[in-house]
Amino acid sequence: MKPVNQKAWLMILPVVVCVAFSAILPLMTVVNYSVQDIISPERRVFVGTEWFKQVMRDDDLHDALVRQIVYSLSVLLVEIPLGIGLALAMPAKGWRASATLVLVAISLLIPWNVVGTIWQIYGRTDIGLLGATLKGLGIAYDYTGNPRDAWLTVLTMDVWHWTPLVALLCYAGLRAIPDAYYQAASIDGASKFAVFRFIQLPKMRGVLMIAVLLRFMDSFMIYTEPFVLTGGGPGNSTTFLSQYLTQKAVGQFDLGPAAAFSLIYFLIILLLCFILYTWMQRVGTVSEGQT
């Protein structure tokens, strides 16, 4: 049990100050905007929950929200199993392990706009390998004009970009399993699948929760990559929530509704992540009881 020590507040003060500065101040500004109509710098009218109501009724917002949810779920559905599979396939020791780690992790370190650029080029039928190959195979592919192609390309780009995060987390979880478990399983005559189901998967629970949490949060906030690749198009078929918000705020300078929406956006994520986080903690305390 941890000893109680209120002086510990001194140690977390720098962190609180930094984050408060970066978070609370701007947040207050956003709240400020969300309840005012700023016609000009001098003229501000308090409008209460007017913007919130307007935002909630906005059909474009509903569409973007649905699009976003479908996207995030698709991302999880592909990346989590693929990440687990990749982690299982990666070598555990030796120079091969280091080399594989570096190769797998490269896509994580590419600036997000460059990721967009890479795929932008890659998918073009004139100068990109993927585009040209598909064209050569006779498949009609146009990620700028065809919404379905745009969706698939954005999804594939995300899988390409972020599966390594899931894989690395799972890989670490796997490495943490002591050899004795595998030895005992071999003595017990367990099949490879049984080893996966009863030893590896349960022991990876902690990291998997982190992976699911991180991927869900980040995919819900995604902005740069789809923006660079498709600009949200064709039309608004790949306009997800962040871009919708940015368009509203910066593009149209509808500060009031944008601010209102920002808060709603924030609260949605907060709620979902609170649920996931609590679940993670509960799983964590169960596994803490184990050796």
């Binding site: 930094c18 984050v19 490269i106 590419i110 460059v114 929530l241």
Partner: protein
């Protein structure tokens, strides 16, 4: 039977690695071709190998300054993030105090905030402070999501160190700063490595805030790259070369922390 399984796994791994590397290879490929060749022909490797694009980047200040700016603010950010996160993580790991669980969760929520939400407020805030277009502005802005992450990761590692070590040090007469720096920090080296890696990663790749808060002096490479459309159309070759160069620092960092990644996660918040 084991052999067949082994080969199937290696095959899948190989297939994934091809999938992962091919787009990057393509970009590298393009960076060594002239713009004419890119648009005119289609080839798997450059027919007329050229360093022109790289030369342009290294000589044109508007290009290479982008890299320097990025490295600057990322470095500042990592240093500050670790410096404030270490004592905080220690406090969370060793003590319980009023509101500790709530503060911890509040920190994590900052990681969950969409940067788009803060776009305009940040713009106004930093303009007011007169910090627009400075490296420190971006470094501070990135603390928003890096500090909670660093605290989260470090706390996990610190919890893995038995409290007996702290107690023994006090009995031996160590003052807290001395104990922390000479005993504790070396024990959590792996954790610091992992935290630094992630802070570096998320700061290096972030575009939205970095672009919003800078214009000329501190313009990072990511923003420079989004401006390569000229009258003669997209300068694909230079764009590709710039992209390749942005991967280089990342690859270097990951090479250095490669041992910690596997070992590190294992001891951390898992």
């Amino acid at each position: 039977m084991d052999d067949k399984r082994f080969r199937k796994r290696t095959l899948l791994l190989f297939a994934y690695l091809v999938f992962a590397i091919l787009p990057v290879y393509w970009m590298i490929n393009m960076s060594f071709k002239t713009n004419e060749e890119i648009l005119a022909a289609f080839s798997l490797w450059p027919r007329h190998f050229t360093f022109d694009h790289y030369k342009l980047i290294f000589t044109d200040e508007s290009w290479y300054s982008g890299y320097i700016n990025s490295i600057e603010y990322v470095a500042i950010n990592v240093v500050i993030a670790l410096a404030v996160a270490l004592p905080a993580a220690y406090a969370f790991s060793r003590y319980s105090f009023l509101g500790d669980k709530h503060v911890f969760f509040w920190l994590l929520t900052n990681r969950m905030t969409p940067p788009a939400v803060f776009l305009l407020p940040f713009f106004q805030l930093y303009t007011t402070l007169g910090l627009m277009d400075t490296h420190i502005a971006v470094a501070l802005a990135h603390l928003l999501f890096n500090v909670p992450l660093a605290v989260w990761i470090l706390e996990g590692f610190m919890s893995g160190i038995p409290r007996e070590i702290d107690e023994t040090a006090y009995i031996d007469g160590y003052s807290f700063p001395r104990f922390f720096l000479t005993i504790f920090v070396p024990l959590i080296k792996a954790g610091i490595g992992v935290a630094a890696f992630f802070c570096f990663m998320f700061s290096w790749v972030e575009l939205l805030m970095a672009r919003t808060l800078t214009s000329v002096n501190a313009l990072p490479i990511v923003a420079v790259m989004t401006r390569t459309v000229s009258a003669s159309g997209m300068d694909w070759g230079t764009l590709a070369a710039a992209g390749v160069l942005t991967i280089v620092p990342g690859a270097i960092v990951i090479w250095f922390v490669r041992n910690y990644i596997a070992k590190g996660f294992a001891m951390g918040r898992v």
